[in-house]
């Protein structure tokens, strides 16, 4: 299980890196999406993962064994919410950059930037 997780996470990080390095803003945003989810999978793997583990509800009289560690899912939830907000901001910004600069290529963006004097 751990090996499979490690392989998936590795491939996702590699794919994300590839996407971020493409000269296209939308692909870059997708790359960040892959990064974020690879990070979340890594957190699941860090928490330890067993198929027969139960959700961490402790009831009186029952010894609290065989339960999931609640902290990693907790962290993942927070990370998902944050990534959602940042992702939305990134997409909006990409669109505004496209409207104003008429390009979605970061390299052209910086090349044009040099000609125009900074305000």
């Amino acid at each position: 299980m751990e090996f499979a997780m490690a392989a998936v996470i590795g491939v996702m990080f590699a794919a994300g890196t590839y996407m971020i390095l493409r000269p296209n803003l939308i692909r870059m945003v997708m790359g960040f999406g892959l990064y974020a989810n690879a990070g979340n999978l890594l957190l699941i793997a860090c928490g330890g993962y067993q198929l027969d583990w139960q959700a961490p509800f402790v009831s009186e009289g029952v010894p609290p064994t065989g339960l999931m560690d609640p902290i990693p899912p907790d962290i993942i939830l927070t990370a998902i919410v944050i990534n959602f907000a940042v992702g939305a901001l990134l997409l909006t910004l990409c669109y505004r950059v496209y409207l104003d600069h008429h390009t979605d290529n970061p390299e052209e963006l910086s090349a044009r930037g040099r000609e125009e004097p900074t305000a």
């Binding site: 960040f32 990070g39 890594l42 957190l43 793997a45 962290i75 104003d100």
Partner: protein
């Protein structure tokens, strides 16, 4: 102490109120200044309280410390909070005059307050993952504040800034996950106690994971080789805001480096991180100042100087690898952070005023500002000499403490780099001086009104003089804060209480 939530909650509520007040420009400005002033008074009271009674702790939702999220205020936190809020208030007072109506309608003030929430939160939190959340809040606010007005240049630079920070955020989450997997906790006090007991393979693993945090915080602090995003993005921020950016945002990175690499990671071989920082600091200082020397725009020069100055603070953290000089080096770093935040913010505010007076930011198109606005010239002279490290201003003492620590520890190479950098800083500042203030007049009268902005700037400039002449209380406080984080026993005890030490996860 439940009041610890105030520096986070109050700016947040203010931001919401300000957003609702959108359209009532005068009311918005009045509330902005009142809230910031009141909060500044509160954090100074907190500093006094913590200095007298030791660290204050609050656990969110009443969950006991290693499980619940703790907010901890020790001396270092309080010093940073005071700086954040007082510079924030000064900058807000400055923007009352400099902000344009369009920018204000674009929610400039709410965004600024969201940034304050994030900055204060990252100083207060006692939990590594919570620090990540605080960073994100700060970043969201800063993206907005950077973009306000949405000129082409701003959009372009915000895109870069956002992209680079997204990568850092991913690394931060990964680091948190790996630390949790290896040590089994994310609470800073708990981590500090547990890592101190680690040896051998476990310790090496934690050291390896800690390097991820080194990358994240070095990126935030703009240390070599991760500084390239800074000199382009800061100059496009609206005038005044770049004063806060320059003062506080990179220093959040420096604060995190101090907190995490001095207090949290104490396993066998943790010196590797500080030794790495020492090497990086030399490059940061030198490359930053060399970058500044070849710029011809006042805000760009100042932005490059931020990088070179961050080098000095990182050098102090690096020197802490040697236990004999750790205390004086860390105290020097804290003193330097105080000095730097004040001086750098004031320089950006002065640069903004000079730009308004001359109607340009290009050195070659400015000139004669000493005739047009003599007060501004005086402020610039004091602030720039202080930045370069000339006595009797605060810059001299802060550099002196660090250089002495380095010389005592026998790190002569880094000390000589620091001194050379200081002279190059002076050169670069005299370039601004001779072009902006001395050169033939660029215009007959000031191009825009600037007098209202002088008062807030004066506060910062007076502070750097005061801190140089009356340094003893500041040095004492910095020394006490340094001892706090170097010997975290009282920090750990106040967070974890007297709970029996729990066993480390296998």
């Amino acid at each position: 102490m439940t009041l610890l939530i105030v520096p986070v909650l109050a700016p947040f509520l203010t931001a919401v109120t300000l957003a609702l007040l959108s359209g009532h420009a005068r009311l918005e400005k009045a509330l902005t200044l009142t809230a910031a002033g009141a909060l500044t008074a509160f954090v100074f009271w907190l500093l006094h309280h913590v200095d007298q009674n030791g660290p204050a702790v609050m656990v969110v939702g009443g969950w006991a410390a290693p499980w619940g999220i703790a907010f901890v205020a020790d001396r270092l936190t309080c010093i940073m909070l005071c700086l954040s809020m007082s510079v924030g208030t000064v900058v807000l007072a400055y923007t009352l005059w400099s902000v344009e109506p369009l920018q204000q309608r674009h929610f400039f003030y709410p965004l600024f307050y969201i940034m304050l929430v994030g900055v204060n939160w990252s100083f207060l939190t006692g939990d590594l993952f919570n620090l990540f959340v605080a960073y994100e809040v700060m970043l969201i606010g800063s993206y907005g504040a950077l973009m306000v007005g949405a000129s082409k240049a701003q959009l372009r630079e915000t895109m870069k800034y956002l992209a680079i920070n997204s990568i850092a955020s991913t690394l931060f989450v990964v680091g948190c996950g790996l630390i949790y997997a290896t040590v089994g906790t994310l609470n800073m006090a708990d981590l500090s106690a547990r890592t101190a007991a680690l040896h051998g393979d476990q310790a090496a693993l934690v050291t390896a994971v800690s390097m991820l945090f080194l990358v994240v915080f070095a990126m935030k602090a703009a240390a070599f080789p991760l500084f390239f995003w800074l000199p382009d993005s800061y100059p496009v921020a609206p005038a005044g805001v770049n004063g806060y950016f320059a003062g506080l945002l990179t220093k959040v990175g420096v604060y995190s480096l101090l907190r995490v690499f001095i207090l949290v990671f104490r396993q066998d071989g943790h010196e590797l991180a500080t030794q790495t920082l020492l090497v990086l600091s030399g490059f940061t200082m030198l490359l930053g100042v060399l970058g500044a020397m070849c710029q011809w725009e006042i805000r760009k020069i100042l932005s490059w100087h931020i990088i070179s100055q961050v080098g000095y603070m990182v050098m102090g953290i690096g020197l802490a690898a040697n236990p004999a000089i750790a205390e004086i080096a860390v105290a020097g770093t804290i003193f330097y952070v105080v000095h730097h935040i004040i001086v750098k913010s004031s320089l950006f505010l002065i640069g903004g005023i000079a730009g308004r007076v001359a109607g340009s930011q290009e050195l070659t198109r400015m000139g004669g500002v000493i005739d047009l606005a003599p007060g501004v010239a005086g402020f610039f002279l004091v602030a720039s000499l202080s930045l370069a490290g000339m006595p009797p201003f605060s810059g001299f003492l802060s550099k002196f403490v660090l250089v002495r620590a380095g010389a005592t520890g026998g790190n002569y190479l880094i000390v000589s780099i620091a001194i050379v950098t200081s002279f190059l800083t002076l050169y670069s500042m005299s370039k601004i001086w001779s072009y902006v203030f001395w050169q033939g007049r660029c215009c007959d009268a000031p191009r825009a009104a600037y007098r209202g902005m002088m008062a807030p700037t004066a506060i910062l400039v007076l502070f750097t003089i005061g801190m140089g002449l009356w340094a003893q209380p500041f040095l004492r406080l910095a020394g006490a804060a340094a001892r706090d984080i170097l010997n975290p026993r009282s920090y750990v005890a106040s967070v974890l209480g007297n709970a029996a030490p729990r066993e480390t996860r296998p």
